[in-house]
């Protein structure tokens, strides 16, 4: 039942002549002779450059097969075929290298040397890709996008992995260049994109090929081929190396060129030392330096990942013991992300201060080692120490990084968010739903105070979708919170994650393509201020409606509260600009606390409102007899100030956070223009509202006000419970089968969790109960007042 085995006589004959290591390759090529020999290609003139490059590669492979078959003459023929297939227009330097490689191939073919032929094939392939880069570059400089596009097809790519995709910057840049006028600016931009893409690609590939060439355990043919490719790829990078003043490019070139001969001579010592030196050279510079945007993105990732490390670690360990392995693994993952980002930024940081950068690298390595040790349970650093170590790194990085790097960066938010969502899925797979929920909240917090405020300014429906997918679902799709609470299967969670990924990608695209025109920013700022301001107007109108006649004096403390809240909002604006990132970290908790205070005050005032309103209604004639109790009046005054303050500041706080996002896009001046427009509109609507309200008959107004206050309270309770769930202060028990539309949450604080709904019902019961209690008390009071009068009359 074993798979059928067969070895041909030719194979045995070859074995008698060659070393065992080479045998594999020889046999391979013999067997693959048929594979390599494709139908004869069309004439070289008819071919596109990429077709000519493929034809050369195929012909050289056929030559290798022929060498293995012992047919040197045929091999030479194939090499000649390769030479004839050379693409027209290959730049001179690369054409010379190709010619040199083909000469070497011819010599190797004639000598029947398979390793040398493999090395020559690698060098030829590298020369062709180098030529593709040079030709594309020259065509761009000449403003000929079509020609550049033809040559760009002759290129290598980064290996695609789960975490990294081949770059397409050059392809897109050439498409744009072809579609527009080739102005000097457009040409410069296309060149920059071409370099960023291809230099990055060739540096990555060169590093891989150098490692293969140096690997003594790899097959000689593969090593030779990689050495050949590496020598050619260095030529792509050499100008950037020289330009950056990183060192003497010609010395490095000599090293790469010496690698293949040393390999073919079997001089492993030279190969090892040369490869080590070249590897150090490659690691010391970056041919395609990160763009300022990429640097800011990496810096954002670095700081965000670092911030998550002590959080996870603290959850995973006690003083000396690992309590939750998955938490420690998460900490390791996040530190891995931080380490990778630091590696990308290291050159930039070294340019600022090499000594401090080296010290940071050491600190990071120490944290990595400590985390690994905890993960392997070798030793456990106390969480406080881990926090201190990470915070020290964070502080030093923040001090060292240029301001542009530490500004808010939405792309970094999305990157880190994706990592945290990975942890959600990992925890679900491990059946640890509590951990999954904790990671989900973390991910939501990153979204909520990272991209969401900006997104809300530009694409509210997208925020609705993402919020829904994070929580109780959206448009028929289940939500992550609900799925985790119901301990859904990993497949279900993965499906929600896929939906969420789609929405987040759309969000990232949206934020990456925001209109930068001042008009658009002013409009959006005005809309935000108007929307939030209108909510305040509704609340204040409801609360102040009853304050007419003698009660009008109660308006003063409320107005004072509103004025104070406006000052506080202005102060928040200033603070937000100073410490936006810190504020963001605590944003939801602050919002929850402010909302709780607002609810507390509103409950008190609601109760007071009903009692006071009915008291006034029936006891108006006895105002002059009332005795003022100073303490009660003071308490009432403070309460009203607080009510005015919290009602307004809730919206002010939110508005500031939303607007900060716009400030990052367009600057303070532009945004403040929008604020002015929005505020004016709010004032107009507010004035109209209050004026119309004043015309209402008193009793109608009372009903209207009571209903509105009740609605405001129920909404506020729902939203506050939601925020408290977001920060983990209140649990989440989904109401199965119920998915309220997004607007129900947005406008009425209605979310499908038992906690939220029960609290809202409680608030409603409080309002209604307070009304009936007040009414009951008034009835008794009326009876109490009426009884003596009746008695008097009876007498």
């Amino acid at each position: 039942m074993q798979p059928q085995a067969h070895q041909g006589s030719v194979t045995l004959r070859v074995r008698n002549r060659v070393s065992p290591k080479k045998l594999g390759f020889y046999l391979l090529l013999l067997l693959l002779g048929g594979l390599a020999l494709r139908p004869a290609p069309a004439a070289a003139d008819d071919r596109e450059p990429w077709q000519a490059a493929d034809a050369i590669s195929d012909a050289l492979f056929a030559a290798q097969a022929a060498v293995l078959g012992g047919d040197s003459r045929a091999a030479e023929g194939h090499v000649a075929e390769a030479a004839a297939a050379g693409p027209d227009g290959l730049p001179a330097e690369s054409a010379a290298l190709l010619a040199e490689a083909l000469d070497a191939a011819a010599t190797a073919a004639a000598a029947g040397d398979g390793d040398a032929l493999a090395g020559a094939r690698g060098r030829a392939a590298g020369a062709l890709n180098w030529g593709g880069y040079l030709a594309a570059r020259a065509a761009i400089e000449a403003g000929d996008a079509a020609e550049a596009q033809r040559w760009l097809l002759v290129r290598d790519f980064r290996t695609s992995t789960r975490f990294s995709r081949p770059d397409a910057d050059a392809t897109l840049a050439l498409r744009d260049l072809a579609a527009n006028e080739a102005t000097p600016e457009a040409v410069a931009a296309a060149l920059a994109q071409l370099d960023a893409d291809l230099l990055d690609t060739y540096q990555a590939r060169l590093t891989q090929h150098l490692a293969t060439a140096a690997d003594a355990n790899a097959l000689p043919t593969r090593r030779a081929e990689s050495a050949g490719i590496a020598a050619a790829y260095w030529r792509v990078l050499a100008p950037a190396y020289a330009e950056q003043g990183a060192g003497d490019a010609s010395t490095v070139l000599a090293g790469f060129d010496a690698l293949l001969p040393a390999l073919l001579a079997g001089d492993e010592t030279t190969v090892a030392t040369t490869a080590e030196r070249l590897s150090a050279t490659l690691g010391s510079f970056r041919a395609a330096p990160l763009s300022p945007d990429d640097q800011a993105r990496r810096a954002g990732q670095l700081l965000r990942f670092l911030a998550l490390v002590p959080v996870e670690y603290g959850r995973g360990v006690t003083e000396q013991t690992v309590m939750v392995e998955l938490e420690v693994q998460e900490a390791v993952s996040f530190m891995g992300g931080a380490e990778a980002s630091f590696a990308d930024l290291r050159l930039g940081l070294e340019a600022i201060d090499p000594a401090r950068t080296a010290a940071l690298a050491q600190q990071i390595a120490t944290v990595v080692a400590d985390l690994d040790a905890a993960n392997r349970k070798e030793y456990v650093l106390p969480p406080e120490q881990m926090t201190a170590n990470v915070e020290a790194i964070n502080a030093e990085l923040t001090a060292l990084m240029p301001p542009a790097w530490t500004a808010a960066n939405a792309d970094a938010d999305f990157d880190v968010l994706a990592s945290v969502l990975d942890q959600v899925e990992a925890a679900v797979r491990a059946g640890d739903y509590a951990l999954a929920e904790s990671a989900r909240l973390e991910a939501y917090a990153i979204f909520d105070f990272g991209p969401e405020p900006r997104l809300l300014g530009f694409a509210p429906p997208l925020v609705a979708r993402i919020d829904g997918l994070f929580w109780q679902g959206y448009d028929g799709q289940p939500g992550l919170a609900q799925a985790i609470a119901l301990e859904a299967a990993p497949a279900e969670v993965a499906a929600i994650r896929a939906e969420l990924d789609g929405a987040l990608e759309e969000a990232q695209l949206t934020l990456g393509d925001l209109p930068s025109a001042p008009g658009a920013i002013i409009t959006n700022a005005a809309i935000i201020v108007f929307r939030e301001g209108l909510e305040s107007v509704v609340i204040l109108a409801a609360l102040m409606a009853s304050m007419v006649g003698a009660m009008a004096r109660h308006r003063r403390p409320m107005v004072l509260g509103v004025v104070l809240s406006l000052l506080a909002t202005a102060a928040t604006w200033w603070i937000a600009q100073q410490i936006l990132s810190s504020l963001t970290r605590f944003g939801e908790r602050l919002e929850a606390i402010v909302s709780l205070i607002a609810i507390g005050i509103l409950l008190l005032i609601t109760n007071w409102f009903f009692h006071k309103a009915y008291w006034k209604d029936w006891m108006a004639g006895f105002h002059q007899q009332k005795r003022r109790v100073l303490s009660a009046e003071t308490g009432q005054f403070v309460g009203l100030v607080l009510l005015g303050f919290t009602s307004m500041y809730r919206e002010g706080f939110e508005t500031v956070l939303f607007l900060q996002a716009l400030v990052l896009d367009a600057g303070t001046t532009v945004v403040l223009q929008g604020v002015a427009v929005g505020a004016l509109a709010v004032l107009v609507v507010g004035a109209i509202t209050f004026k119309l309200q004043a015309r209402l008959p008193y009793k109608k107004m009372l009903v209207w006000t009571g209903v509105l206050i009740g609605l405001v309270l129920v909404t506020m309770v729902g939203k506050t419970v939601h925020v408290m769930q977001a920060v983990g202060w209140v649990g989440i028990t989904p109401i199965q089968g119920v998915t309220p539309p997004y607007w129900a949450g947005l406008w009425f604080g209605l979310y499908a969790t038992w906690q939220g709904v029960i609290m809202q019902i409680g608030a409603a019961v409080f309002v209604v109960g307070s009304y009936y209690l007040a009414e009951g008390m008034q009835t008794k009071r009326r009876q109490a007042i009426a009884a003596p009068r009746t008695a008097e009359r009876a007498q």
Binding site: H6, F163, A418, P460, D513, R531
Partner: protein
């Protein structure tokens, strides 16, 4: 009048608040999403139908396997799970049942492989690849293993046992794991119980076969509910094309290359066959988007088409040679893998350029 004012107040508040949202919506930038016309130009329905067709044919195999496993279990139960006694009494029937199990497994596996490029490459479906075909067991990789439990009829449980095809059923049916073997048996009557000749342990065979059938049913439901997008299709191509090294490595370690192989998997069918299947599915997927790519960049489309033909021809020829009796060496397998990976890296790179030109996001 007062009613009118109250209504007006409500109206002012509500209308203005709603207007706010609407205005904000209007202010958002136009996202350069893939135009509907572009999606129409790609026949994604055909890709879904292809996936569904193969999944349903796979289901026929898994259902037949479950039925066979039940018959096998019943026969063994009749002998109180005394394998030697059962073999002595019912050798022909048992031989036939094991042969049927292998055939049904192959049917199911073959059709899954034709789907694998899509199932494993589409983010919302990828879970099924982990569960059915690719996920490691906790023993192999405690961190990456998908946590699930296989419950056997005799009450035993196998926690995080890996995937159905290669961690469970292949070792069970071909007997490459000692604890899954009921009895080594000379199934082909050539005088020796060789590799692959065993009476599987009936409890584990039944549970795994039924489990695979159930998982396949779930997968079909997921595929039926799948709304294929260009992003799904391109992601599948970019993620799955460059996995040649991994498959060639598995092939190198398998009994098809290494006579001394101790591998428990990839014994029922050569991994080269699987690679062929995966590439066929991916090629089909690309074929249904080809018009779109061609309209965006004819030269790139031509390069991709040529790349698919080259890679598929390369692997196909190797498989044909293997089927014709050639036993490749480990060193050759290394080299084949290297060459295939180089071709795959280039092809995936080209496809990723096409995706970028069409503004299609590749999921991570």
């Amino acid at each position: 009048m007062s009613k009118w004012i109250a209504r007006l107040l409500s109206l002012v508040a509500v209308v203005l608040l709603v207007a706010c949202g609407g205005a904000a919506e209007q202010a958002q930038p136009a996202i350069e999403a893939t135009p509907a016309a572009a999606t129409d130009a790609a026949d994604l329905a055909a890709v879904k139908q292809y996936t569904l067709d193969n999944a349903q044919q796979m289901k026929e195999g898994t259902a037949a396997l479950a039925t066979t496993a039940q018959s096998y279990y019943d026969l063994l139960a009749g002998h109180n799970f005394d394998y030697a006694a059962a073999w002595a009494a019912d050798a022909p029937a048992l031989t036939q049942l094991v042969a049927d199990a292998k055939a049904h497994w192959l049917t199911a596996s073959t059709h899954y492989e034709l789907d694998e490029g899509i199932i494993a490459g589409v983010p919302s479906l990828a879970f099924y690849d982990v569960w059915i075909d690719a996920g490691p067991s906790a023993e192999e990789d405690p961190v990456e293993a998908y946590e699930w439990t296989l419950e056997l009829a005799d009450g035993r449980t196998l926690p995080s046992p890996g995937n159905f095809f290669h961690s469970l059923l292949e070792p069970i049916i071909w007997g490459t794991r000692a604890d899954f073997v009921g009895l080594p048996a000379d199934l082909d009557s050539d005088g020796a119980a060789e590799l692959g000749e065993v009476l599987p342990e009936a409890n584990v065979l039944l549970a795994a076969a039924q489990g695979l059938d159930g998982a396949t049913g779930e997968m079909i439901t997921a595929v039926e509910g799948w709304q294929p997008s260009l992003s799904d299709a391109f992601t599948a191509l970019v993620v799955m094309i460059p996995t040649m090294n991994e498959y060639f490595e598995q092939w190198k370690l398998s009994a098809f290359v290494n006579e001394q192989s101790q591998e428990q998997s990839f014994i029922g069918v050569s991994r080269l066959f699987d690679i062929n299947g995966i590439l066929a599915g991916l090629d089909f997927t690309y074929g249904n988007m080809a018009t779109l790519v061609q309209s965006a960049d004819p030269a790139l489309h031509s390069q991709i088409t040529d790349g698919f033909a080259d890679l598929r021809g390369y692997v196909g020829d190797l498989y044909n040679q293997e089927r014709a009796g050639t036993r490749f060496t480990g060193a050759q397998a290394d080299l084949f893998g290297g060459e295939a990976q180089a071709k795959a890296t280039a092809l995936a790179g080209q496809v990723s350029q096409a995706a970028a030109l069409l503004d299609v996001e590749i999921a991570e």
